[in-house]
Structures are given as structure tokens and as C-alpha cells.
């Protein structure tokens, strides 16, 4: 293990015991879906807290995206911070107790499940691509309002806090841990990926999904597919997708690519045959992906989000003023 304090691989019970010892005079660590009670070490010094393969819901508290902690002697590099203050605070507590604090925080992109826990790290540098920072500032209030509506009291105390420093593509060494930052777009306007040089682990953000339907609110499908080709060329030794399990294969790459193509195909067919968007929604997802986590709701959202991209191809200009 790289730089992590010499503790055994933390099982859920182990974390509870450690937490109870460390917090003898403080309230017990709250156990809930949004609290990262069970990080798993997927590669040397690369710890992952896997999000629920679902949409935002009160039953998961918004803990739906994967969070990664990279251990360094100067504390953890925390990649993404969850959907709310509570999740961020639990993550901070974990980092302080088991990783010797927080060296830096990275936000992979501006979607709210990935950074609304930032406020727990206000005293540490929080890095994101410049465009992600601008989009966080622009959309933070709207995201918060929407998540309060969906998640209710899980959002208590959440005040959105955009990243505070620019991430630059290229090599970055934090606490002796060599990373390579890779900037792409396609899932959103700016997607940041991290390659951990020591282990070859790629933290892919939402450029990759596995066994959870990809989301499309800001997707540019052609750019996203081009990004997948770049990811394939990296030849990572292990992959943490934005949503879905860690794996040492091309599974997420293949599935994300197939999903994007199938979705684009279904939308092109629907708009090309004269279906109304309400019909495309009602028809339901591509059969081969109907049972992915977060479907059919993610498919239905995606039709609304992306319908007009396809419509202008399907409908020629016929007049005007």
C-alpha cells in the first residue's frame, strides 16, 4: 500500500470498530447509504467507494457516483465528493481518520452527484477543469434546488461550493503520487480523467459507465465516442468508472460505447420515422440495455435531453417568416 497508514484492509466491521475507537467521545458514525463506510482498495493505495447503480433517490441519499481516495503521505487525493454536505462530511472524516487528512480534491466534472460534498473540503485545494468550474458556478443553485426536491433532508446544510483551482491536463504529483490528468469532453462539456502512474489505474469519471445506464444531460455523443477511443489507447491496468464496479478489462469501455451507439440509433430511428418524443419515451429503452441500473428512467430523461439533437437531422427546413 502506498502511503496509507498501516491498517488492515478495512472491512465494513473494521471501519466501524476503528470509528468507534477514534470517536469514543463523539456520536457514532452514522450508517446510511450516503456514508462511505466501506471503501475498498482496488489497487495499491487506490481506494474506491462504489455508488449505488441507481438514479437520485431518498433510498440512496444521492450516493450514486463512485468516489476514489488515492493515498499519499500527505493525505488523500479525493476524487469527487458526492451529492450533499452529509456525504462530503462523512468522506472528510474517513480521509482524516484513515488517510492522514486530505492533500487535494479533484472534481471530475460539473454534474451534481460528483461535487456537492465539496464544502467539507473548503480548507483544501479543490481542482477541476476551468470550464467545469464555470459550469459549477452557473448551475450550482439549480442543482441544489432540484436535489433538495428529490433527496429531501439528505440535503440539509448543503451549500454548493465550486472547485477553487484550475486543473491542467498533464502530469501532476501530489504527495509523491504521480498522476496524469487527461481532459476530454462528451459526457459533459469538460470531463477530467486521472491516471495513477504507479498502479495504472484510470479514474474515468463519467466518461465510463458499467452496469448503470449512462446519463446524457450535457452529452455530445460524437465527442464522447471519440473520447472512448482515446481511453482505449491509454491501456489502463484497472478502471474506476464514474458509475459501476472497478474492473480490469475493457468492459465499461465496450458497454459505454455500445450504449451510446444504441441510444443514438434509437433516437435517429424514432425521429426519422415521425415518432413524437412522448412516443420515444413511452417505447422504453433499447432492449439490450433495459435492465441496466437506473433504467428505464435514465433512458426517459435522455430522450428529453437529446431529442432535439436528432430532430434537426430528421426534419428539413420547410419555411419561415
Amino acid at each position: 500500500m502506498t502511503g496509507l497508514r498501516p491498517t488492515p484492509r478495512p472491512t465494513r466491521r473494521g471501519v466501524l470498530a476503528a470509528g468507534a475507537a477514534a470517536l469514543a467521545l463523539r456520536p457514532a458514525v452514522a450508517l446510511s447509504p450516503a456514508d462511505p463506510a466501506s471503501p475498498v482498495e482496488v489497487a495499491d493505495g487506490v481506494w474506491m467507494i462504489e455508488g449505488a447503480a441507481q438514479s437520485f433517490a431518498r433510498t440512496n441519499g444521492g450516493a450514486i457516483c463512485n468516489i476514489v481516495l488515492l493515498a499519499t503521505p500527505e493525505g488523500a487525493v479525493v476524487v469527487d465528493t458526492g451529492s450533499n454536505a452529509r456525504q462530503g462530511a462523512a468522506l472528510r472524516q474517513l480521509a482524516d481518520q484513515k488517510f492522514g487528512g486530505v492533500a487535494a480534491v479533484v472534481n471530475t466534472h460539473h454534474h451534481p452527484d460528483h461535487w456537492l460534498g465539496n464544502q467539507a473540503f473548503a480548507d483544501r485545494p479543490i481542482l477541476a477543469l476551468p470550464q467545469s468550474r464555470a459550469l459549477q458556478a452557473e448551475n450550482g443553485q439549480g442543482y441544489s434546488d432540484n436535489l433538495y426536491r428529490i433527496l429531501g433532508s439528505w440535503m440539509n446544510g448543503t451549500a454548493f461550493m465550486p472547485a477553487t483551482a484550475d486543473a491542467a491536463p498533464g502530469p501532476l504529483v501530489i504527495g509523491g503520487r504521480a498522476l496524469r490528468l487527461i481532459a476530454m469532453s462528451g459526457h459533459s462539456q469538460a470531463d477530467l480523467l486521472l491516471l495513477d502512474q504507479a498502479t495504472g489505474t484510470l479514474v474515468a469519471g463519467d466518461m465510463l459507465f458499467l452496469d448503470r445506464a449512462p446519463s446524457f444531460p450535457d452529452a455530445a455523443i460524437a465527442d464522447w465516442l471519440a473520447g472512448l477511443d482515446r481511453i482505449a489507447a491509454i491501456g489502463a491496468g484497472g478502471v474506476v468508472p464514474g458509475h459501476g464496479p472497478f474492473h480490469r478489462s475493457s468492459a465499461a469501455l465496450a458497454q459505454t460505447r455500445a450504449y451510446l451507439r444504441a441510444f443514438a440509433g434509437r433516437m435517429a430511428r424514432a425521429s426519422g420515422l415521425g415518432l413524437a418524443p412522448a412516443e420515444a419515451i413511452h417505447a422504453g429503452p433499447m432492449p439490450e440495455f433495459a435492465s441496466l441500473g437506473a433504467n428505464p428512467e435514465e433512458y426517459r430523461r435522455a430522450v428529453v435531453q437529446r431529442w432535439r439533437d436528432f430532430e434537426s437531422d430528421a426534419l428539413p427546413v420547410i419555411g419561415g417568416t
Binding site: D145, N146, R149, R266, R269, A270, L273, G274, L275, A276, P277, A278, E279, A280, I281, H282, A283, G284, M286, P287, A290, E297, R300, R301, V303, V304, Q305, W307, R308, E311, S312, A314, L315, P316, V317, I318, G319, G320, T321
Partner: protein
């Protein structure tokens, strides 16, 4: 029979099974506005019923309160449909649109803005010979974050928003009778700060001789850059069809659809 095209997508779900109604005048959405809307906008009819033969598709949750896609299919309703009135229970503008199908079939796809969660309803007025009018209703509850009617149209965020204003896109599918048309228009409701009302008020379909096929009265809740779906009988679906529209400040729009174009 519903005339949905969902089966054209691989394993696309068919029309939802009609729910056998208990009391046909019971409101499945238990909404306080419904009696008022029947009174104010439908002429307080006595002969009305929630009709399982009438279909209204809308998402259970609005992903975007500015664009909630809806499809109304009254082709299964017994008797000729003279008009379809779309009302939204808790919208600042109760009436979304009124569709006079005329020589088209009583099917319409459109999108609406949602100001707050509530039911959207379609009420089809059946006028059969000299019998008194009869109304068939369908509805769906849409959960929405809201703000769709009071937020500025997205286009105002762009300095060049007037570029492309009024552009019409469309297509006619003779095989299925489908006609789809979109118009670039901000559809400003007048409720957003500093932006006066500027919205379409009417859209008509005409045949090559200029005779009306169908007509839509359009109100504020119709979405920005509206997209509309119609269903024509085979003889009209061969085209050409002229689309005419106008807005509340006097702009006129025209487009021409040829089959297979």
C-alpha cells in the same frame, strides 16, 4: 384503437392497457382545479367521462420543466371529435392549447412548460349529429420542479437569438400519415422579468387548394421552439400540406410540406 408508432422501435412498448374506470366522473388526480377548469374552459358540460379509449402520454416526472413532451390520441374515442382542449391544473395559464382536428385525425403531439407539479388533461368534445356534445377525458400527473412558465426562454441567453426566428422544419410520412413540424419561437409567456409576452397564437394546416385541414389555438404554456405531431388520413398525407402560423405581435410564418421530401 390507439395509433401510436412505438412498435416501430425494437421492442417498443405498446399503448398502455386501458384502465377499467370505476366512476367515470371520479378524478384520479383528486385535484381542486378540475371542477373549475371544466366550468371555465369546457362550458361546464354534464355529459363527460374519463374515457379509457382516450390516451394521454406524458412523463411521470418532468426532466425539463420547459419541455414536457405530451401525446394525446383520441382516435379510439367513439364519434367525431370536434376539438381537444388541453388544460394544466396548476399552470398560471390553464389552457395550453385547443386542437380542432377538422380533416386530420384527433391525435396531437406537443410539448408544454410546467410551472408546478400537477395533472395535465386532454378533453375531447364529441359532436355526433344533433346529439348534445359529449366529452371524453384523459390525463396524467406530471411531477415537476417547476419554473417553466416564469423562466426566460433559453434563447434569450444568446445575443443572436433572433437569428433563425420563425424557421420552420417539418416532414410528412405518407405511409403512416404522420406530419411533424417545428417552429423556432421563444414562446415568451410574459411572466419572466422584463420579457414581454411573445408567443404563437395559431397554427393551421392547409391542403394545396388552401382549404383548412386542421387548426390549433395556441396559448402560453406551449414550449419554446414548439414541435408538433399530427396524423393525417392517407389522401391528405400524400401532400402537399401548407403550414401557417402567427404570433401575438403580428408575425406570420409559412412552410410547405411535400411527401417524401
Amino acid at each position: 384503437m390507439a395509433r401510436l408508432l412505438t412498435h416501430l422501435l425494437p421492442r417498443g412498448a405498446g399503448a398502455p392497457a386501458p384502465v377499467a374506470a370505476g366512476d367515470p366522473q371520479a378524478d384520479p388526480f383528486d385535484s381542486g382545479m378540475w371542477p373549475h377548469h371544466r366550468q371555465d374552459h369546457l362550458g361546464d358540460p354534464r355529459d363527460w367521462a374519463m374515457d379509457p379509449a382516450m390516451l394521454l402520454l406524458a412523463p411521470a416526472s418532468a426532466e425539463d420543466p420547459a419541455h414536457v413532451p405530451v401525446l394525446v390520441d383520441a382516435t379510439g374515442v367513439a364519434g367525431p371529435v370536434a376539438r381537444i382542449v388541453v388544460t394544466i391544473d396548476y399552470s398560471p395559464f390553464a389552457v395550453g392549447l385547443v386542437f380542432h382536428p377538422g380533416r386530420a385525425l384527433p391525435l396531437l403531439g406537443f410539448g408544454v412548460k410546467y410551472e408546478m407539479a400537477g395533472a395535465i388533461r386532454a378533453s375531447a368534445e364529441v359532436i355526433d349529429g344533433g346529439a348534445p356534445p359529449r366529452w371524453s377525458m384523459a390525463g396524467a400527473f406530471v411531477d415537476a420542479m417547476g419554473g417553466g412558465c416564469t423562466a426566460p426562454a433559453a434563447t434569450h441567453a444568446r445575443p443572436d437569438w433572433q437569428e433563425g426566428f420563425g424557421q420552420m422544419r417539418g416532414r410528412l410520412w405518407p405511409d403512416t400519415g404522420r406530419l411533424r413540424v417545428t417552429i423556432r419561437h421563444p414562446m415568451d409567456t410574459g411572466l419572466a422579468d422584463g420579457i414581454p409576452a411573445h408567443h404563437l397564437t395559431e397554427l393551421t394546416l392547409e391542403d394545396a387548394e388552401g382549404a383548412e385541414i386542421a387548426r390549433l389555438q395556441i396559448h402560453e404554456p406551449l414550449e419554446e421552439n414548439p414541435e408538433l405531431t399530427f396524423l393525417l388520413p392517407p389522401e391528405l398525407a400524400r401532400g402537399p400540406v401548407i403550414v401557417r402560423a402567427r404570433d401575438n405581435i403580428g408575425h406570420r410564418f409559412r412552410g410547405r410540406l411535400e411527401a417524401g421530401a
